[in-house]
């Protein structure tokens, strides 16, 4: 019988990490990487793929759009993301060097029906089972977890 206790960090095996400029073009890159990931993990249910990809793209979109540099320097803004699919879960963890984000995730709510923006974080939170943000070593860290549906 499979062990029901959460697995250890060695679960990170198989992960794919990407580091790239924080530009809109890189959203297609992440879509392409996810597409390959799914083709290597055909057992991941379509519903899980969809909610994971939705949240990943929302968080990345926010980094691209909002995570400005503290000091606008010479060098480009970049992000990195680690993507992994284990039997138990799909996990994405983002890092970026933008300014600290002053949002309390527990305050995030879905805007009204007629709002034309402001749904990104609420959608990401609704899509996955866990979304966390923290600031460490001068970087923003976002972590998303989708607990997988039983096959």
């Amino acid at each position: 019988m499979p062990d029901p206790t959460p697995r250890e960090p060695s679960d990170d095996e198989g992960r794919v990490e990407l580091s790239a400029p924080a530009t809109p073009e890189m959203m297609q890159m992440v879509h392409a990487v996810l597409e390959q990931l799914w083709s290597n993990h055909e057992d991941v249910a379509m519903a899980d793929r969809i909610r994971f990809e939705t949240a990943v793209i929302e968080i990345l979109g926010n980094i691209v759009e909002h995570a400005y540099r503290l000091e606008p320097g010479e060098s480009e803004r970049r992000f990195d993301v680690s993507l992994s699919a284990t039997e138990a879960a799909l996990v994405a963890s983002f890092g970026d060097d933008g300014m600290p984000v002053s949002i309390d995730l527990s305050d995030v709510t879905m805007p009204d029906e007629d709002a034309e923006s402001g749904r990104g974080l609420a959608l990401a939170m609704a899509a996955v089972d866990e979304l966390s943000y923290d600031r460490a070593s001068g970087r923003n860290h976002w972590r998303l977890t989708c607990v997988r549906q039983p096959g």
């Binding site: 379509m46 969809i50 939705t54 979109g61 029906e113 959608l123 609704a126 899509a127």
Partner: protein, 111 residues
Amino acid sequence: MIEFAVDTTPEGVGVVTPKGRLNMSSARGLKDILDGLVAEGTSRIVVDLGETTFLDSSGLGALIAGLKSARQAGGDLRVARPTEAVTTVFKLTNLDRVLRPRDSVEGAFDA
């Protein structure tokens, strides 16, 4: 990345079909097309989502903006044939009532 097919039915209904991913990069394109249709007097619009493989909050924003301007002009915007990715996002954002998906483009304005 994305293409938009734009058509008008004999009944004067505008049909917009985004083919590909409706996201941060392509949402503006959809918004411009919807605004253009309303501006030229086509305020009854169906967005055919049968080939929309991905939808994010920016794409949703463009649909809501289009819905509002169509209604302001006395018409409506309806969505048809959503893919699983689209349906999922409608449900997660509680927009599946205001953007109630129709089974077909032809019948989208029947009820």
